[in-house]
Symmetry: C2
Subunit: 625 residues, 2 copies
């Protein structure tokens, strides 16, 4: 295996369970539905259950061998439906891995010998349609749908606490802006949303390792992370570690954007080890097959690549079918032209041949492939703006309208579909993006890259875009594609991936709260209560990144005893506002128990003296801790 020596160390770090957390499961009614969640135990005996996309990796009990791949609990569901068959599959070709020379072939076969996953692909039986949308529209609640419902609900420890304070709940009630999220997600609700096209469950029948999840405006906002090797970069084992590392920090889906050689084999390793849906941009591999010459691309090569990847188990394909020939001149006056890699490849093909985009002309044939494996469309926005200047221009909008037309075609075939979105958009044009998408694409889930709200923050684009991402998530975007600090500058390393994911988990969570997603605030409520009560360990453990929170605290107050201190280094013991408030509260509560008459009798002066007498111990000296 071409793993670096440090691979085991790397993977061990990526697998380390979060502190005070354990993997718990909720069982469904349908056979084999067992939904993993992360339960955080607090020092006061309470627990908080969190949505968990880290898969078996965060379970110390799970035995992981990346050469074997993960278990495939979903295989039984696919088989039980009886509408698929296993078949020989497409014969592997050296060019799938970009192999053109003997050296390359040798390197590859060594690699494959280590980790080649022997398996027989499945596809729909002749005439069958195996998409979740197809089942949904026929009224069938699949195990995948039940899984999603349970996963979205979590354990709902918050329900009683929420019910107990009606004033607070009314005051904080979300503004769903057109979303309609029920208090309890039922499997039937999931079915309706999938049938309506408002949500997708990306789950290729050849990816039985997947833990089903939903992308839709009436579900939690999801986050995608991009990984992938390139000519000069990482090896395959490192890519698997990057996958696991991404899941640790909250990637709901992962796109493998590998280019260069070993592209097929890398993908095999990734899919077989991934509990989350995997997306790809098939045109990248197709381009590799024709030696990187966009003009040489053909429908035949592309179609073959789709089959190849569908057989491997890719869950969604980015397809840039909206980059139509007549739209290309619309990009001429732009400040930054076409910034999508796929979009520019297709634009080049179109103008070189002066013909319509072959993805557009062959769209129905693509649908036929999608429905035979249940690969979901992620209709690519090849003409997305690459700068504020180009935001919401005619090129972008023309493509978006086309994506709307294509959505209707995909839905005619019951193919699950989401729509990719920008890019670079100033805050005041974000709502228009969302409105247009909802209108033209009939509420098919929107999946946006950011958007970045300014152009001039290279090195900090995860922040510039988290602002736009949070806003568009609130407005109705279903999944946010992360942006790392390396955007516009280079390839993200391990820490960049983490930074990008945390920024996007913040954005997605802020959106869920603003929409009023039931229970979304429970984690915040728990951490705030811990903050008020000086339960430092609980504060760290409930944070998005417990290690960093603990580290930051320890920089100024490293001693273990300080984890129990009723103050922090910001105000010190004398000035701690939280401490003072606790005293204030004790006083005010005491006051509240007196009747008006009593209050009058006892008088202001007396009460004041009382408080002074009781308050002599208000400040707890450091050494007493």
């Amino acid at each position: 295996m071409n793993a670096p020596e440090s691979f085991d160390t790397l993977l061990a770090a990526s697998r380390e369970p979060f502190p005070a957390s354990r993997k718990v499961h909720v069982d469904g009614a349908l056979p084999g539905v067992r939904v993993p969640m992360r339960e955080v135990a607090l020092s006061n005996g309470e627990t908080v259950t969190l949505y968990d996309c880290s898969g078996p990796y965060s379970d110390p009990a799970a035995v992981i061998d990346i050469r074997q791949g993960l278990d495939a609990p979903r295989a039984a569901w696919v088989e039980a439906r009886g509408d698929t068959e296993s078949y020989t599959g497409r014969a592997p070709q050296p060019i799938d891995d970009g192999v053109r020379s003997a050296t390359q072939a040798e390197r590859l076969s060594a690699l494959q010998a280590e980790g080649l996953f022997k398996r027989t692909p499945r596809r729909a039986k002749s005439g069958a349609n195996v998409t979740q949308m197809h089942y949904a529209r026929r009224g069938i609640v699949t195990p995948e749908m039940e899984y999603v419902a349970l996963r979205e609900n979590g354990k709902r420890e918050w329900t009683e606490a929420y019910a107990a304070d009606a004033e607070r709940e009314a005051r904080l009630a979300g503004q769903p802006r057109g979303a309609a999220i029920p208090r309890l997600i039922t499997p039937e609700f999931v079915r309706q949303e999938v049938a309506r096209g408002r949500a997708i469950i990306p789950a290729n029948i050849n990816h039985p390792e997947v833990e089903p999840m939903a992308i839709g405006r009436n579900f939690k906002v999801k986050v995608n992370a991009n990984i992938g090797n390139s000519a000069v970069s990482s090896g395959i084992a490192e890519e698997v570690d990057k996958l696991v590392w991404s899941l640790r920090w909250g990637a709901d889906t992962v796109m493998d954007l590998s280019t260069g050689t070993q592209i097929h084999t890398t993908r095999d390793w990734i899919i077989r080890n991934s509990p989350v849906p995997i997306g790809t941009v098939p045109i990248y591999q197709a381009l590799e097959k024709v030696g990187g010459i966009a003009e040489e691309l053909t429908w035949a090569v592309f179609r073959d690549t789709l089959i190849e990847q569908a057989e491997q188990g890719v869950d969604y394909f980015t397809i840039h079918a909206g980059v139509r020939l007549p739209f290309i001149p619309l990009t001429v006056k732009r400040r930054t032209g076409i910034v999508s890699r796929g979009g520019s490849i297709l634009a080049k093909w179109c103008i070189s041949h002066h013909r319509e985009n072959f993805l557009y002309t062959h769209f129905e044939e693509i649908c036929e492939i999608m429905k035979a494996y249940d690969v979901s469309f992620s209709l690519g926005d090849g003409l997305r703006p690459g700068s504020l200047s180009d935001a919401n221009d005619e090129a972008q909008m023309a493509e978006l309208r086309t994506l709307g037309e294509l959505t209707q075609i995909a839905w005619k075939h019951d193919v699950q579909t989401m729509i990719e979105g920008p890019g670079h958009v100033p805050m005041h044009l974000i709502q228009a993006n969302m409105d247009e998408q909802l209108k033209h694409c009939d509420e098919a889930p929107f999946y946006t890259l950011g958007p970045l709200t300014i152009d001039c923050a290279p090195g900090y684009d995860h922040i510039a875009s988290a602002i736009g991402a949070a806003m568009i998530g609130w407005m109705g975007t279903a999944m946010l594609c992360y942006v790392t600090p390396k955007e516009h500058l280079g390839l993200p390393n391990r820490d960049d991936v983490k930074q990008g994911l945390i920024a996007y988990r913040i954005a997605a969570h802020a959106a869920d709260i603003a929409k009023g997603h039931p229970g979304a605030r429970a984690r915040d409520d728990a951490i705030s209560a811990a903050r008020f009560e000086f339960r430092w360990q609980d504060q760290f453990n409930l944070g998005l990144d417990p290690d960093t929170a603990r580290e930051f605290h320890d920089e100024t107050l490293p001693k273990d005893s300080m984890k129990h201190a009723h103050f922090c280094s910001m105000c010190g013991p004398k000035f701690c506002s939280m401490k003072i408030t606790q005293d204030v509260r004790a006083f005010a509560e005491a006051q509240a128990t007196l009747s008006d008459e009593e209050q009058r009798q006892r008088g202001m002066a007396e009460k004041s003296a009382e408080f002074r007498a009781a308050g002599s111990e208000l400040y707890i000296p450091i050494k007493a801790q």
Copy 2:
């Protein structure tokens, strides 16, 4: 001097001019008005002028001696008005620096011997009112107002470019949401805004070193950074360096939140070396003077502290006069009670004495002091929410309404006033915050801390709050108080200060663009054009943090030749979408010059062949760069 040995190195790093940047000046019509700006020279011969709050420090020609303090160009303006007088001033007392022991006194006198700034304070002549608001209301355009106007306008290189593309300008036109920003800021406009109370120019007559700036919804959104030593932390020279470091990364004002001993002397050093307005929370020092016992606070001690700080030159005071006795019980049911340090100190005083807040009862007397020095109010929100749960609750709103009443009183005295705001607020409740503030405080500038949009991101609260800050900035907030990654966890170090400021510069800039602040987009347009044309150095130099951008790029492509490469490490030379677009553009432009008839005649096939012939050099091999 108690400077660490590394102080000179530190300050040198904080003073290093940004690459390709020089300090330029725009002269005003009034005597002595000379406004510094930062001009970035691009490799294509263009320049971009940026708003510059770094003061003389970023000018390599400036000789800086922090023991002498900065030059005081504004002193002549103050004197020329003839309405102030110099006077002996309040006699310094050991307790001003918390000195209670011989050891403390010795340490302090050594410190003062090094850097004591001998000066005589000024105040308004008897019966005079020396606030900018007072002048504005009498129709006087002060040099400070002209300075602000020129500063806000910059050099306006963008005007022609903007005029040239009407479609783009219409498409990107901002949504001011009630702001009314003229295309050119005139001194008269500044005067009107200050007279109306919609903007303040914090500029104590005892801070003649200040470079005037405005805080108001019709000006650029500003950013404040908090610094300040505390019991266990940094020395004075380090505080000065922290100030300079904050200015480098874009602090428009700085609050000195020092506690502990040497509080007076620290402030002396900071003010004498600060080109930006300095704010404080006087109750912190007053509390030090009474040994940290909130109950022992008196109006006399507080009043004396106001005079002390006003004579030093503090430009704005946070005054928690809205924490009224009847509001305190409203905080009892909160999840996180009172989280403002000042608010909790006053709440404790109120309930201990069972009397109304003395800042509220003495408010008009405070106004008398403010107008004698032109100190601006920053009316503190002592009852701001410390968690999502407590956002927009009755305690917060009751205080806000009181701040509105106090604003009217301050304005009656022509005292400049801004209003502090939250805190922790979920996205969907931010607009209500802004609406209530505008309504109750009659458009007095809003100055918010964040707000944080989620509670569960300790270690990343600069991001969680930059989201809220950008949004509330767009909605009308005039200044954003930064939040660092250490929020809730510890004291920010040098890098935390930088991270906090950059996150907030992003938020403020995103807000300016959304509001349609004229010219705000020029920097983004320039960086995007550089990106499209592969001018890597220009991309770095126009970024908010050129060093980090360059470093990130060099991680994958370190060679100097790569700074001229027509691609980056993300896509590599073959797939570069920017490069392909340039080719597409060339083709489409050629096509556009043909008439319809010509196009018909030449036919599809021919054009396609043409492009192929022309395109054989589309990909530039790496070695050819």
